[in-house]
Symmetry: C2
Subunit: 358 residues, 2 copies
């Protein structure tokens, strides 16, 4: 695999950097040649207020609002592979998740662009640059840094896990915590998957990467649109949907109770038509514990295993990779920006090659 | 000018496209080679809630929130010019303003990248991907499409201006209106200029492009940070600051009253040390009118003229270009994405060359 050999020196170079890599002083990577890049909105709706519009004394009357669309930024490399990759972020995040890592290395956006995939980064409806929502919300500044540190498995605040794949420079944690951005309207998996389906209508066939909360909307997108040819889900944590009559019981944990939802068998079986892989990282017990941050992932992994079994029981091709089982240790919830993110990308590349998607 | 000749065929090719240019079917532009790209947060603050943090029963106690930073995405071309360009969007917008135009052509992000400038696109604090605010807000879905159509001078709703530099395909207006995104916290020119100053601390010397409402935070950034070596302001509409004792009287208009603010003379004179150019477009009268959309710009242009005079009276190098005066007609409020945006970019390139900033 030429591309794997190409990528390894990048990681080694970057790891030698002291602290944060600044743009201007970043190591000189091999240049990337881009055929086209740009951005657009897709999906969404128009909310119309009745009445006549008075140009010179405007009120809500007769005016409309465009909202609930997603925003996508794309880059098409020279000599691109046939299938683009669409990357959908998780809760409290934007497309930022896939860009530069908190310690200044290349994220999956640029890593997969270098591997010749057209890459589409999405800000989901009611988040980031797709902020216009048709439903109101209130944003309270909520102090969550320590909860995120635990729940995203950097460690147990204030201590990092011994083997964590995260640079402990305080400036790196600062960058990580500033990737958090709030909902600008109520979270709605249907609104998100409708816009994602419109995206796949626009771009045609592609591979969908999801992170965390995006797992649920990701499954729904593939059900709604046959242009989704594969799903690579990084630590999907909620939104697990099962065929009616096969929904597992709720799973209590120290972080709350995880529930699954029923959908029609015919819809579920649309997921059986495409290859799916789920990756989970390290540093949580598969046995019950009182540690909230860890126990949260115990039940999500357990639910994911049941979900993969259900997909395969219905004739599907789903796989769950718990990275410690294949000797990859120390990963946080943010597999795509961890210190070993090139190794994770290599695992994904192997999967895509095996499924003839590259 | 080699670069101008290079850019012209791009415009002609793109204008031949029927309707929206989709990514996959976009005209094959000359490829762009990028040395590095990525994103980061800079500036902002940390809000700390007192008390001990309980990992297994988390509340606000003992937790912190990172907020009020900006988000920047940068691209460094091969053989870059010395000074990067930083682009700061206006009200209701994000860095999206500078990307692909609503009709699918290249925006200033890629145009100036092709002209060998490193380009930094900013989402200002409390907007877009820099959504985490230390101050709460409520977001109401406000129907503003028709007001924006008038105020951004596409025409007088529902009619376009006869010579407007905007593609009348309804899909283009849809894209334009979906670039709107709300504040996720109160607008605060000081919070924005503090984060912008932190950005210029990080990247060093650079050229600042501002659009519309960003004019005000732009002047403040240059006052706070000597790394701002020039300002190119596209239709600055508010935030005009004058030396104490020289503040002009408020200017009433059909769209409300425009006021200016005083600052210390010593601060104002920091603006006299750098070249500044302000561009304004077409389709508004310089005489009072009852047309709200137009009259709004009459007073903003008038205030801008007084402001340029004040800068120059204090020894500065400021210039105002009302584009119709140099024969460039039909521009909306979004000069950088209008149909003639390559022509506008050429005017800017000429300015930068004249000031030895390229």
């Amino acid at each position: 695999m030429l591309l794997r050999r190409f990528a390894i020196p990048l990681l080694l170079t970057a790891q030698l950097l002291p602290g944060l890599a600044l743009a201007q002083s970043a190591p000189k990577f091999d240049p990337i040649t881009i055929q086209a890049q740009g951005s657009f909105a897709v999906g969404g709706t128009v909310a119309q207020t009745p009445g006549p519009y008075n140009n010179n004394a405007p009120s809500a009357e007769g005016q409309s609002l465009h909202g609930d669309h997603l925003y996508a930024f794309y880059q098409i490399p020279q000599n691109p592979k046939l299938l683009p990759i669409v990357m959908l972020h998780g809760a409290f995040q934007s497309a930022r998740s896939w860009e530069t890592t908190p310690d200044g290395r290349e994220g999956f956006q640029t890593i997969f662009l270098r591997r010749s995939y057209p890459v589409y980064l999405v800000d989901q409806p009611r988040r980031g640059r797709a902020g216009n929502s048709t439903v109101a919300t209130t944003i309270e500044p909520t102090p969550y840094d320590q909860l995120f540190f635990d729940q995203f498995r950097l460690g147990k605040w204030p201590n990092y896990f011994q083997n964590v794949q995260f640079n402990r420079d305080p400036a790196v944690l600062d960058q990580f915590l500033r990737s958090v951005t709030p909902n600008t309207g109520p979270y709605d998996a249907n609104v998100i998957s409708d816009a994602m389906s419109a995206l796949f209508d626009r771009i045609g066939s592609g591979i969908l990467f999801t992170h965390s909360q995006a797992g649920g909307p990701g499954w729904l997108t593939a059900i709604k649109n046959p242009n989704v040819k594969a799903i690579v889900a990084f630590e999907p944590g909620s939104g697990f949907i099962f065929p009616e009559g096969e929904v597992p019981p709720p799973m209590p944990s120290a972080a709350g109770t995880l529930t699954a939802e029923p959908i029609a068998v015919a819809d579920f079986e649309k997921l059986a038509g495409i290859p799916i892989v789920l990756y989970y990282g390290d540093n949580f017990s598969t046995e019950p514990t009182k540690e909230r941050g860890e126990d949260n992932w115990r039940v999500r992994l357990a639910m994911a295993r049941l979900w993969v079994d259900a997909v395969n029981r219905h004739g599907g091709d789903a796989r769950l990779v718990h990275l410690p089982d294949i000797g990859i240790r120390g990963n946080t919830h943010f597999l795509m920006s961890d210190l070993n993110n090139v190794q994770i990308a290599d695992e994904v590349s192997k999967f895509l090659a095996e499924k003839k998607l590259d």
